[in-house]
Symmetry: C2
Subunit: 348 residues, 2 copies
């Protein structure tokens, strides 16, 4: 029987745990907020189940709370931000605030990261840009350690699941796409294996480069690969995954880590904000977006479909439901949190 928490309740628990782990008040607040928001939006893989992981990573010295996050190089339209291994969410939030501020002054701005840990739900940051009235775009790659995804035609992992996201203000919730460029996540493969279930078709290759539906063949005898998004047209998903790789690290100044060397980052985060006033529509953007939304949603439903939902719409519906009814936390997840809390002498 999973436990159920009210939002403020689980957020308070998370915040206190991160405080105990050495985060400043502001950092603990941000990480707790981002984690709970991910669970609210239905992205459980980036939500409450990450609390124990982050605590363990602080304990292992991988996350270094309370380290100063500094801009190491900037122009009026850009910033390179060194996170110095603080919480990735704290860094991503700061970078988001930087591009919003710069785009308000200079119309467009981008920021890229250095020494950044896992930064959670990518859509959180583009959403924040859209809520500031701007167009937001973001991408996040991962270091070589997370390269499970094969390039199209290949049988070795060369990219991570590399999500990209954009958000645009409307009269209601923003239009918010937050999508990986692969067919499935490694976490999902593990879940299906533990449940004794089969993989969906055309998502995973064995080490020998053969398609498989058996989750265990992804891990044994040697690690297989996840396919890029798109099936037979996977060259499109690969091309988009490569875009994320380029934005997250190559273009922003960090080449792929040579084999055997220590990675310079966990996540490479790229975020951009564009001020609609450069298109002469300081005030009309929301009106234009409402017209577009109405037009797109007016399409008749396809056979067996519940109709058209704008990117993010279902997630905001999940959020409304969970805000009202609370968030379920699996027993195993709670057990892991309780155990991780002990690392910092907190009894839950």
């Amino acid at each position: 029987m999973p436990m159920k928490f009210k939002v403020e309740e689980i957020k308070k628990i998370a915040k206190n745990l991160f405080l105990s782990a050495g985060a400043s008040g502001q950092e603990a607040e941000i990480v707790a907020e981002e984690i709970v928001e991910a669970s609210l939006m239905g992205l459980d893989s980036h939500g409450i189940m990450r609390i124990s992981q982050y605590l363990e990573q602080v304990n292992e010295g991988l996350i270094k709370p309370d380290r100063a996050i500094n801009i190491i190089f900037e122009t009026s339209v850009s910033a390179i931000v060194d996170c110095d291994w603080n919480f990735g969410m704290v860094c991503a939030r700061k970078m988001t605030d930087i591009v919003i501020e710069k785009a308000n002054k200079s119309n467009i701005a981008v920021a890229v990261s250095r020494h950044c840990n896992h930064m959670g739900r990518l859509g959180s940051y583009t959403q924040r840009v859209a809520e500031a009235g701007l167009f937001g775009f973001a991408a996040v790659n991962s270091s070589r350690h997370g390269h499970f995804v094969a390039p199209f035609g290949g049988a070795d992992g060369r990219l991570a699941t590399n999500p990209l996201s954009y958000a645009v203000p409307t009269g209601g919730n923003p239009i918010l796409l937050d999508t990986s460029t692969s067919m499935i996540s490694e976490g999902k493969i593990r879940v299906l294996m533990h449940q004794g279930k089969e993989l969906p078709d055309n998502c995973v290759l064995t080490y020998d480069g053969r398609p498989t539906n058996k989750p265990e063949e992804f891990y044994n005898p040697k690690k297989g690969t996840i396919l890029p998004f798109g099936g037979e047209m996977g060259y499109k998903g690969f091309g988009l995954g490569l875009l994320v790789e380029v934005l997250g690290s190559t273009l922003s100044g960090i080449p792929v880590t040579p084999d055997g060397e220590k990675d310079e980052y966990i996540n490479g985060f790229f975020i951009m904000a564009i001020n609609p006033k450069i298109f002469g529509i300081e005030n009309e953007l929301i009106e234009n977006m409402e017209i577009l939304k109405e037009y797109v949603k007016s399409a008749r439903p396809a056979k067996d479909s519940k109709g058209v939902f704008m990117p993010g719409e279902l997630d905001f519906m999940t959020k409304a439901e969970r805000l009202k009814n609370g968030i379920e936390v699996a027993d195993e997840t709670w057990k892991q949190i309780v155990n991780a809390a002990k690392l910092f002498n907190v009894a839950l």
Copy 2:
């Protein structure tokens, strides 16, 4: 038996035709170059077969050669460019030059279009940005007239095939992705119908919203829809198609045309250039990209695969082959060019 032309030969024919149709010398040169380059790169649908179409559109007053293309609003990082219905390619080329110039001075730049005709191969313009040493990104939407693509879950066309493209400099040809966000193009459906062939699975819905493999069911009894890219995960392709719609017109200042009104554009073109020097790597970008290229291509080939090709790599191979051996032009295409030439009293 298709005719075969040397590149310079067909380019000269095209240039002379556009001159006869009223284009300035520079305009005729650009349009001929863009068209022939599209055929060279293997994108025949945007190549030589467009010559007759553009000539006819000039004749009908839809394309207005020699009209001045003006920046109607600009900042140091942006420009709104009014094409005044000149050739779309002339406009897109000018916009590309504008973002390159601005990004060289101001580090980042975007340009959006007004009253723009069909601008051809999208990748041509990002490639040009990359060849100038910058990162290029572009998207192009179409007016309501071209809305064949259903939103995910829907059964009415609400988007065009909405391609997006990016290009990055390397030591050799740029990395160059140029990809639609739909499963198939309307042109391809027509070709398959004329050939008496079936459609691939999960590409097209009938007017009633049922999947079909029969090309004629896309047209009869009422127009069906093309599915967004991604099959069961078509919400991803829809989200990306909507991004292109937003960049091409909504964000850039033009709402969807109300039903029954004259469209304000054929293509809505968005292009962006980012100068790598804002990431502290004025000189290392090419080196970083070569490391990435080598790493990605070193993946072992999957079963039955010829190995890994970087985005654009196969197109540049097609170009090398056609530069050497010439470009084939189908009899029907040549007949259409000969007929269109007569509109301007040119005998071929």
